[in-house]
Symmetry: C2
Subunit: 204 residues, 2 copies
DNA sequence: CATCAGTTTGACCATTTGGTCAACAACACG
DNA sequence: CGTGTTGTTGACCAAATGGTCAAACTGATG
C-alpha cells in the first residue's frame, strides 16, 4: 500500500543524523526547550537544510516517539508464558534496567512526553501498550492462580517495574547527586537490589 | 536574619494567586513551555502586574521549587527510628502515595525539573536531600543489622519508594490510559498493592 | 480631603524562533 | 557533457514571548 520511497545515500545519512541529534536535544531540553538551530547544529546541517528533510519540528518529534514505542515494548514482549514465573519477571526487570543504562535519552524523551500529558502518543498508550499490558497481566494472573507467584495485582506490578527501572534513567541527576557514583557503577548495585527485591516480593 | 518584609493584604493575595497559577501552568507545560501570559491570565492579572510581584519568570519558578523541597522531604522526616521497622516503611510508602494523589502538580513540577538536569535545585539535592537520605539509610541499615528487615541496600530501597509512588502522579496519563479508572479509584488499588508489595519484600 | 506609597496597565521593545523561498551547488545518468 | 533531479543555504518573515516604562489609578493615613 505504501509508495516505495527510494532513499538516496545522502537522505539516509542526513535523516539519521537529524534524528540522533534531535533525540539528544529533545531529551535534554524537552520539546519546547529544544530549538531547530540546536538540532541542526548538532546534526551538522543548516536549519533550512534540516527542514528539507522534515516538514516541521513536530514531525521530527513524532518520528522519534513512534519509532521508540516498539523499542520500549520489546522487553515486555519477551516475557514468556511458559518460562519459570519468577525468573521471567526478574529477567524482565533486568532487561528494563539495562535499557535505562544503555538508552537513557530515549527514556527521558518518553518520560517527558508522558509527564506533559502524552499529547502525541496517547493513542498508542491506549492501544498497543494497553493491549500488551492486558495480555501480560493475564499471564501473570495465570501464574498467581497456579500458586507460582505471590498474589499481587499484575498491572500495578508492571507499573512498579517500569517505575523502579526507568527511575535510574529519568532521575539520573538525583540518583547521582545522592550516591556520588564513579561512572555508572551504581547500575550494578541497582541490578542487585532490584533482583533481590523482586524475588522476595514475588515468591508465593 | 531575614529582614521583615511587611506584606499588605493585596500583596499576599496576589503572590499567592501567582504561585498557584504558576504551579498549574509549569506542571502542565514545563518551564520553557509555560508563558507569562498564561500564568497571568490564570492568576487573574495582567502580565506587567505579575512582573510587579516577581522580577522574572525564573524567579517564580525558583520560588515554587524551593518552597516545595520542604514539603517533599517531610514524609521521610517522619520515619521514626524507634517505631516498628516494617510499619514505619509501609507508612512512609503510603504517605508518599498520598502526596501523589493530593499534590500531583507539585510532583510533576519536581519530576520535570529533575528530568531536565535539576539546574535550579541540584544544590539542594546534593545538600539537604542527600543528608536526609544518609541519615535514614543509616536507620534502615540499623534495622537490617538487628535482623528486623530483609537485607536490602537502603538507598536503593528509598529510590524504589520514590519511583513507585511518584509514578502515579508523574505518569498519571499513562496509568489512566491503561487502567481506564473511574475518578481516582485506582489510587486505592495502588495503595493496597504497594502495602502488600513492600511487606513481602521487607520481611526478614 | 490631601498626600503618598502601593498597585495596575496599555503601549512598546528586543530577541528568539519556527518556518519560507529563491537562487545556487552537487550529483546522477543518458 | 548536458540536463534534470536532488541537496544546500543566506536572507528573510511573522508570530510569540520575556521584559520595560511612563502614566494613571487606588487605598490607607494623618
Amino acid at each position: 500500500m505504501n509508495k516505495v520511497r527510494p532513499q538516496t545515500r545522502i537522505q539516509r545519512k542526513n535523516t539519521e543524523a537529524i534524528l540522533e541529534a534531535a533525540l539528544s536535544v529533545f531529551s535534554r531540553a524537552g520539546f519546547r526547550g529544544a530549538t531547530l538551530d540546536q538540532i541542526a547544529r548538532e546534526a551538522g546541517l543548516s536549519k533550512p537544510n534540516l527542514l528539507y528533510y522534515f516538514p516541521s519540528k513536530e514531525a521530527i518529534h513524532i518520528e522519534l516517539l513512534s519509532g521508540l514505542m516498539d523499542v520500549w515494548l520489546a522487553p515486555l514482549h519477551q516475557m514468556d508464558e511458559h518460562g519459570d514465573p519468577i525468573e521471567e519477571i526478574v529477567a524482565y526487570v533486568l532487561r528494563k534496567l539495562e535499557m535505562s543504562r544503555e538508552l537513557p535519552n530515549e527514556s527521558r524523551l518518553f518520560a517527558n512526553e508522558i509527564v506533559h500529558g502524552a499529547p502525541r502518543i496517547l493513542d498508542q498508550i491506549k492501544g498497543d501498550l494497553r493491549a500488551l499490558v492486558e495480555e501480560k497481566a493475564a499471564v501473570i494472573q495465570g501464574w498467581i492462580d497456579a500458586g507460582k507467584l505471590a498474589p499481587l495485582e499484575p498491572r500495578h506490578l508492571l507499573f512498579s517495574i517500569w517505575a523502579t527501572t526507568q527511575h535510574y534513567a529519568d532521575f539520573d541527576v538525583q540518583v547521582r547527586g545522592i550516591l556520588r557514583p564513579e561512572a555508572n557503577a551504581h547500575f550494578n548495585d541497582a541490578a542487585e537490589f532490584l533482583e533481590q527485591f523482586y524475588r522476595r516480593a514475588l515468591r508465593p
